[in-house]
Symmetry: C2
Subunit: 327 residues, 2 copies
């Protein structure tokens, strides 16, 4: 069973691109011709939405799988549509893997012990059937995890990283404006911030937990399958989190629609030019509707490819400028 961190870093080297595409479908942004085709087949139903998502995603994946190492489908957009959305999610993941790429599920799951195991087994491991045999279910390569409940809840996910060669990305510092309300709370006023080099806050405490949780799943390249999420919108905080969890691969959202630039992502990389994977969602998949990559709706996939190539260029240029580009 190959270590997830090794798989991801190899895929990044192979494509010479540390970027992934967020597959966050919104029905109103999907080309009308795809929607119409599915209304014709399935009526104006949730099934038609799920099928439209899948058709759209397959178009994006077919046009970009030689550019990016990974895709990050955001479960919220699928689960919205109940069973039909989840079916589209699963088939999307299958198409990502069929094209030799890595599927990172953004779901921010967690729960207490035995329930957390149900999530970990369903998304990363195997589930029990009626006759007590087991089988993989959603079977993504990695999933994002919320740390609020603590170690005993995250353990079942880490166990499945070991057992099934999977990965997790734990929320450390999220990209949104109010992430600081809880994540930035100072937690150790008596700690020697000057000596530590940082002010202990909830998110730095979580970063330390990530480092601990990841110790048993370090791959041959020295990185752990327990990674973290740090928003590109907080580059200063990223300097600290990068140090506190030096072996974690950091999934970095917030570039593009949320306002961060390629340069803002640099603090999440280590000096070896590794250790981060940068995500962009709307800016790539709906590029055909943007000023910069405008195309007619039948060429949404071509626009996505152009946008993905531009993002690759943006990030690799920033890495080059920082003197840590590997290729």
């Amino acid at each position: 069973m190959k270590n997830f961190a090794d798989r991801l870093l190899e895929a990044i080297d192979e494509k010479q691109n540390p970027c992934c595409i967020g597959l966050d479908p919104r029905i109103k942004n999907i080309p009308q011709y795809i929607r119409d085709e599915n209304i014709d087949k399935y009526g104006n139903t949730m099934e038609a939405v799920g099928r439209s998502f899948l058709d759209f995603n397959m178009g994006i994946i077919d046009a970009t799988h030689d550019v990016v190492p990974a895709y990050k489908p955001q479960m919220a957009f699928y689960e919205q549509y109940g069973e039909f959305g989840v079916a589209a999610f699963k088939r999307t993941v299958e198409h990502v893997k069929r094209n030799g790429c890595i599927a990172i599920e953004d779901a921010k799951r967690n729960d207490i012990g035995s329930t957390s195991k149900a999530y970990a087994d369903g998304h990363l491991g195997e589930v029990e059937l009626c006759d007590a045999t087991t089988k993989p279910s959603l079977d993504v390569d990695a999933i994002t995890v919320n740390p609020y409940l603590g170690s005993d809840c995250t353990n079942p996910f880490v166990e499945n990283c070991k057992k099934h060669g999977k990965g997790i990305f734990v929320l450390v510092k999220t990209s949104n404006k109010s992430s600081g309300e809880i994540q930035d709370k100072q937690t150790d006023i008596f700690g020697d911030a000057e000596k530590l080099g940082y002010v202990p806050q909830v998110f730095t405490d979580v970063a330390q937990l990530v480092d601990e949780w990841g110790r048993d799943v370090i791959g041959e390249r020295g990185y752990s399958s327990v990674g973290a999420v740090v928003g590109a919108t907080y580059p200063i905080q990223a300097i600290t989190t990068r140090k506190l969890m030096s072996k974690a691969i950091i999934l970095v959202p917030g570039v593009g629609a949320q306002g961060a630039t390629g340069k803002d992502t640099i603090p999440n990389f280590n000096k070896d030019g590794q250790g981060a994977i940068i995500n962009s969602s709307r800016g790539i998949i709906f590029a055909y509707q943007t000023e910069q990559f405008k195309r007619n709706e039948f060429e949404f996939d071509k626009a996505a490819r152009e946008s993905a190539l531009a993002m690759k260029d943006d990030i690799t240029s920033a890495l080059k400028e920082a003197g840590i580009l590997r290729w």
Copy 2:
């Protein structure tokens, strides 16, 4: 649109019972005859598991809907099985509502702004179809929410509470052993704990946020549709959280399998005998496999009813002893 808190409190009064049943199906604990019937119909598939969950849940609901005001299906156990599990979840929720009871989804969801809206719309509101019309989807009465990401993420859920008469329960202090790792971090060492009456910690900060978030959705009975989760395993902490969010209805897990007793739940109630709903899952739905309520598998529903009545008796006795029983 009737306020969720009012609906829940009325249902509790009607049944004279502040308890809900957690519908957390595990295939290995479901009667063999149900599994066999579904293997016959659907083969040894995930669909057979989903159908078994639904048959089992309907049996539990049919046998207990006159005893309890609400059910709390835990999404993890359904979602494990992809589209087939989610279909069973949705049909379970429909059966709960058809029987005049309230469906509280335990899913601990949250994400950043626009993605959080997708969750809020899918679970509590309406989703957009291919022709831009909208329709309710999972349509539960309330959902549990994780606060780690802050206000701008929780807002879309609160908006749907207002707009659709729904509720949320925000994780404040979870019932598991390692919940303290993050939730108990002291956050204001310079605060005057003696004057405040408590030590400011992450979970007390979250309790204050819950109080704020809930201010615009207070019903006629003086309670808010923004509730909280506080584990029965932490009765001391519950004294503080009860004070900090006096208008919140507190969903209290941890009784039974997790070791807390009826008496441990009392600090979560207000002096009016309202403001808490106590959950038990395994101890009720799989009562037929316990020493106390042992029955053959064909009578799993009768055992669940007996266990639900015993739980009602346990909690109401504790309320009576505390001098705050309403009925």
